[in-house]
């Protein structure tokens, strides 16, 4: 079976923190239009890898490609511009902005986000603003947060903040979404709804790369799974294959 060019690929990326190689010559690929899971024991380097893909850290060695373009070393906002977004595992909402504002601010390429437009107010700016306002409210409805649209983001509960993280990520109109434990702390009903939302979005062409510890979610949602241990991938394949992989079992039991 010939593989199409992967949407995202890392080639031997390495990142060291204080003498410890968090990510160690990691090479992997994510295919377009899939929900790919990333599993592994704590400390395997999964979050660090995500932070490098999104541009918060630069890899010391190796490269990262998105589509045909190299994105390693680019500032985060450039990478988001190209269609990659990451949600934070521990939600980092903008606390003193309202829930809706948290979403609005994530929408890309707003013509109003410069001081000249702010002062002189071209009509284009405010038309765009109204458009994304509607979009934002729809997105909030999807995650059932719309009654709280005007509340300060800091007033949300933990689970609600995770929903906000997801909604905010989706607002950036991404092609690839890096999710870091997206449903941890969310109630089961809403979790089901979200996961079916992810499937719908995938059907529409979005790609998800998801760090997840909940094996049920991994088994039911993911098309492919990559297992990481000590900074590099140790197994790759369908969820069933990876779950049975000896190296993976060893890593989890030993870690």
């Amino acid at each position: 079976m010939t593989k199409a060019r992967p949407l995202l690929a890392t080639h031997a990326v390495t990142k060291t923190f204080g003498g410890v190689r968090a990510v160690d010559r990691c090479t992997l690929a994510v295919q377009s239009g899939t929900i790919t899971g990333l599993i592994g024991p704590n400390g395997a380097g999964k979050t660090t890898l995500f932070n490098m893909i999104i541009g918060l850290y630069a890899p010391e060695e190796g490269s990262i490609t998105f589509g045909v373009e190299r994105i390693d070393g680019l500032p985060a906002y450039e990478i988001v511009d190209r269609g990659v977004v990451k949600s934070f595992q521990i939600p980092r909402e903008f606390r003193r902005l309202t829930v809706l504002e948290n979403l609005l601010v994530a929408h890309p390429r707003h013509p109003g986000e410069n001081p000249i437009a702010a002062l002189f107010g071209r009509r284009r700016v405010w038309d765009h603003e109204e458009m994304i306002r509607k979009k934002g409210l729809d997105m909030l409805a999807l995650v059932e947060l719309d009654p709280l649209s005007d509340a300060y983001a800091s007033d949300l509960s933990g689970g609600q903040k995770k929903l906000l993280e997801l909604a905010r990520a989706l607002m950036t109109e991404p092609k690839l979404v890096l999710l870091d434990e997206p449903v941890a702390g969310v109630n089961p009903t809403l979790t089901k709804k979200l996961l079916s939302l992810l499937s719908d979005l995938r059907a529409n062409g979005k790609t998800f790369f998801m760090i997840e510890h909940d094996m049920d979610v991994v088994m039911t949602q993911c098309d492919r799974v990559i297992a990481m241990h000590q900074g590099r991938p140790i197994a790759e394949g369908s969820p069933v294959e990876v779950r049975r992989d000896e190296k993976v079992l060893e890593a989890y039991l030993g870690a």
Binding site: A76, Y77, V80, R95, V105, E113, P115, W126
Partner: protein, 341 residues
């Protein structure tokens, strides 16, 4: 009658003074309240604005026996509208631009520093600007002597109350225009983006904001306003005098006090902060002449006021860090007039 005009002059002078500091507070609010930039070099921008404007509206003076002289512009090049020289308008604009340019150069190396380092760096740079350069460029700035003789836009000779009142009118208009403009900018998507930088810079970057550029914009624009305030201050004082007693770090921290006590992020709040600070000063300075107080005590009231301000600042930081008038929930509303281009 003479007493009344005296009072009018005095009050007008005070109100103009308040407006000048109000503009400073609004400018700092843009940098600090909105973008989270702890600018401790305010006097650098204020001072540059003052000196720049002073030079634009006065003729150059050559070095002489009692004075090192200073730069200026031959006033006859400025056209007059209805008898008023346009040099003042130019002076204000040049002042703003000078401060903005200074801010641009200061910003590039300092914006990457964390808040407290940024404060120390800007403090140092502000001091360098005023203490080292301005004070020592003898022929340019008048050196340690500074220079006086800065005219007002509207002069009424002996009728000081008219001069003061007219100047207050001018400055009040400036404050109003600036307040409306900055409020509008705060409620815009740009203001919203700035606030994300303040809240969590890494998260802002992770969701597509070019935080460096946003900080730069806020810093430079705020500095422009500080320069404008400096110009208005030079006209108010009718002189610029070197930074032994003027343009000291104390002035910077005064603006901090106004913004933090008044309400960070709220333009009305910072104006309230400015008012409280200056009104207290006005009252304590004039108190001995209003009521009978033992002489020794009269002088000390001045210092008690500052002690009280320090106490209030600490209490606010401890128990009400959002200030007297906290930042309101922003609603990005389409403003009433919008350019269609």
């Amino acid at each position: 009658m003479a007493e009344l005009t005296g009072v009018v002059a005095d009050v007008s002078r005070f109100l103009a003074y308040f407006a000048i500091w109000g503009i400073l507070a609004i400018a700092l609010n843009m940098q600090l309240g909105q973008a989270g930039l702890y600018n401790a070099g305010i006097v650098g921008f204020w001072g540059i604005g003052a000196y720049a404007a002073a030079m634009v509206v006065t003729d150059p003076v050559a070095a002489g026996i009692a004075t090192p002289g200073h730069w200026g512009i031959d006033q006859s090049v400025f056209p007059r509208i209805a008898g008023v020289s346009t040099s003042f308008a130019f002076g204000v604009v040049v002042a703003g631009i000078a401060a903005a340019v200074l801010a641009f150069f200061i910003a590039i190396p300092t914006l990457r520093l964390r808040a407290d380092y940024f404060a120390i760096a800007t403090l140092g740079l502000g001091e360098i600007t005023m203490r080292v350069f301005v004070k020592n460029l003898q022929g340019v700035t008048g050196g340690v002597y500074g220079f006086g003789g800065i005219p007002r836009p509207f002069e009424f000779g002996f009728e000081t109350y008219k001069t003061e009142l007219s100047y207050f009118g001018l400055v009040a208009v400036a404050l109003l225009v600036i307040f409306l403009a900055v409020e509008r900018m705060s409620r815009s998507p740009w203001g919203r983006a700035l606030r994300t930088v303040r809240e969590d810079e890494d998260a802002a970057q992770a969701f597509g904001k070019d935080t460096f550029f946003l900080k730069l914009q806020s810093f430079v624009f705020g500095a422009f306003l500080m320069g404008v305030s400096g110009a208005l201050f030079a006209f108010w004082l009718r002189g610029v005098f070197p930074p032994e007693n003027q343009f000291t770090p104390q002035d910077t921290f005064t603006v901090w006090v106004m913004v933090i006590i008044g309400g960070m992020g709220n333009n009305r709040g910072v104006l309230l902060g400015a008012w409280v600070f200056l009104f207290l000063e006005y009252v304590t300075v004039r108190l001995p002449s209003w009521i009978d107080i033992p002489q020794a005590f009269a002088i000390k009231i001045f210092y008690f006021r500052l002690i009280a301000i320090g106490v209030i600042l600490i209490l606010i930081i401890l128990f009400r860090p959002q200030g007297l008038l906290p930042e309101k929930k922003h609603v990005a509303k389409r403003p009433r007039w919008v350019l269609n281009w």
